[in-house]
Each structure stands twice: as structure tokens, then as C-alpha cells.
Amino acid sequence: MTHHPYGPDELDRADPELDGVAHALERYATDAEGPPPSDLNSRIQAAIGREPDPAFGWWAALLAGPRAWRPAGRLVAMAAVVAVAAVGAVALAGIVQSVRPSVGTSSPPSPLISPSETPIASPSPTPTVSPSPTVTPTLGPTVAPTPDAATAVPTPSDDDDDETPEPSESDNSGPGGGGGDDDSSGPGGGGDDGSGG
């Protein structure tokens, strides 16, 4: 006996032949009915008992597979479109700005050159120096020669090796990189405990 007997209105169209097919399927369903074995529930319960606690939230969605990602996927896709649009707009604005002076008269080229000169002078030392400044600033505040960093660059590179022990101390107090790692390792360990239990 079916919970929802088939009715011809289900197809929104009168078709006695299809009704016959539906009734044949209903007959098959009735004939193929059988009671489940008495121990089926206990077997299922035992199988569930062997399972770890189910996952929830985004982790559950991740485990559930791509079909469950649909709502999150839409959001990510929308965010990606917005991000691409924003980047495109910024890039377009940059292109427009760079093209506009070159199209103009003789006065615009001068701003073009002047910005290029300043980067040439300062950036060329800084890229080579850039690894060392991350270390030197820790010393720098005590000595305070930071304004002359460009001139002081060659010598600190030699001092780097000597100063490596000191940044480790200043790292703990200053940037917080080491502290952050410590903090993140704490909750991570807790999470592991939670999942394990």
C-alpha cells in the first residue's frame, strides 16, 4: 500500500497510457514490499556507533562534496567577479592615467620623467637592501640612522650575520610574528584534541 497513490492529475495532462505505466509501477512497488529483518535497526545503530562524530558547518560542506558547495560556490563566484571588476577598474584607471599625459602637450612629459627619476634613484638600492632592512630596523631604532639607510646599506649587509641572534629577541617583542605562531599553535592543538575526542 502506497502512502501517496498515483493520480492522473500528477502529469497535468490526460494520458491513459502513462497512467497505466504509473499504475504498473505502483503494483510493482506493492509486490516488492517486504518487512525489514528484525535486527536491521541494531545493525545500523552498531554501524553508526563506529562512526566518529559528524562534521558540521563548512567542514561538513567540504566533506559532502561539490553538490553541497553550490551556495558557497555562488558566493565565492560573486566575490571573484567583484574582485576582478575592481582590479580591472584600477588597472584601467592606471592605464588611462599613464596614457593621458603622453597624449597631451609638452608640459605633461615632465611629470612622467620626474616620477621615474625618483624611483630609479632610491628603488635600485632598496631592492638589494630590502632583505636586510627587515633585520636592520631592529637595530636601527637604537642607533637611529634610518634616514641614511641608503648610504648605510652596504655595511649593514656585513653586519647581518652578527645581528642574527638579536632580531630573534626583538621579534618576540616587536613584530609579533613569533608570538602569532605561538598563539596559533595553541588553538590548533586544542582543535586536534577536540576532533580526537
Binding site: 500528477e10 502513462l18 505505466v21 516488492a32 560542506a61
Partner: protein, 191 residues
């Protein structure tokens, strides 16, 4: 939270799911008690063999338990479980060796040892044809036909659990039945 109260009975499925999500395995056990017969029936109609249906019923509940965090309350818990179960059953059917139908014949004979062997074989063959015909339907027709007739869900429930509009589900049902017409009509003519 409901874990302390649902044991009194009369709690709806969504409350049980919420409790199960909160780690209450007894709540999920209650869902198993309520729905295992319906899941087993659906699996039996798809697979045709009781021991396969038992295995797949168990696998379906385990899969549902693992994925309970993804149940969003769209449709009834039964419909959600039956959708999982019918997928698992068809997966099992795909993996089954081709000679398995012979086992089903033997099983029917065991179920009714007093019956005429010839008629048992004929009836079994007819059932097998319907089963195979439904299994051979392309998606989404197979899903809709299976949930509607083997899972005994209403079309509204099928629409809810599949997330498709009711009109689309009706169309899928009609196209599925049209594809089944030659096989079923042939069986009806043989009667």
C-alpha cells in the same frame, strides 16, 4: 536545545536532526527507528534482493549520519534519507555482477516454496524488467520515478528534496513514464 526533551516522543524530525547534529546519537537512533523500514523498502524495490537492500540501507544511514551537517531542512528527513538511499542503491546496482538476477529468482522461490516455479520465474522476470527499465532511465528521470514510486513520496516532496520546481518534476515524471511505456506495456500485454 532539545536533547533532554525529544525522548518524550512527539518531536518532529527536524528537532531530532538538530539533536543529532549536537552529537546526540540516540536522536539519530530514533530517526533510524522511524525511517529504516521506508529506506529498506525503497532499496529492495531498486535492488530486488533483500540482503543487498539490507546492506544499502545500512550504508545509507551511515552516509546520512556523516552528512547530517549538510541537511538544511529542505523537505522531510524521510525524503532526504530516501534520496541518499536511492543513490546508494543505484551505485550498488552498477557494481553488481550480471548474473545476480539469477540469485533474485532463487530468492523468490525461497520466499514462496509452494508456488508454481514457472509462474514464480515469470513474475520475477517481469519485476526484473521493471527494475532494470527504471534503472536504465537517464537522470533526472530515474531519480524522480524512483522517489515517486519506489520511495512513495508525493511529487511535492520530490520537488522539495531535489530543489526543483514542481512543474519541472512533473515534466520529469512524464518523460520518465514515457520512456518506460514500451517495457511496461509489453508486460501488460503478456498478462
Amino acid at each position: 536545545m532539545l536533547p533532554a526533551t525529544w525522548h518524550d516522543g512527539g518531536v518532529d524530525d527536524h528537532a531530532l536532526v538538530d539533536a543529532a547534529r549536537g552529537g546526540d546519537r540516540d536522536a539519530f537512533g530514533r530517526i533510524v527507528e522511524r525511517e529504516s523500514a521506508a529506506v529498506y523498502r525503497t532499496c529492495l524495490r531498486i535492488l530486488g534482493r533483500s540482503h543487498d537492500a539490507e546492506d544499502v540501507t545500512q550504508e545509507s544511514f551511515v552516509a546520512a549520519y556523516r552528512a547530517i551537517g549538510t541537511y538544511r531542512g529542505e523537505g522531510s528527513v524521510r525524503a532526504w534519507l530516501l534520496r541518499i538511499a536511492q543513490r546508494q542503491a543505484y551505485r550498488r546496482l552498477d557494481q553488481r555482477r550480471p548474473t545476480a538476477e539469477l540469485d533474485a529468482v532463487g530468492e523468490a522461490r525461497l520466499a514462496d516454496p509452494t508456488g508454481d516455479p514457472t509462474s514464480i520465474v515469470a513474475v520475477n522476470e517481469e519485476r526484473g524488467e521493471i527494475r532494470r527499465a527504471v534503472a536504465a532511465l537517464p537522470e533526472p528521470y530515474r531519480e524522480v520515478v524512483s522517489l515517486r514510486f519506489f520511495g512513495e513520496l508525493s511529487l511535492f516532496e520530490v520537488a522539495e528534496v531535489t530543489g526543483r520546481p514542481l512543474g519541472t518534476v512533473k515534466t520529469h515524471l512524464r518523460r520518465g513514464l514515457e520512456r518506460l511505456r514500451p517495457i511496461v506495456a509489453g508486460n501488460e500485454a503478456d498478462r
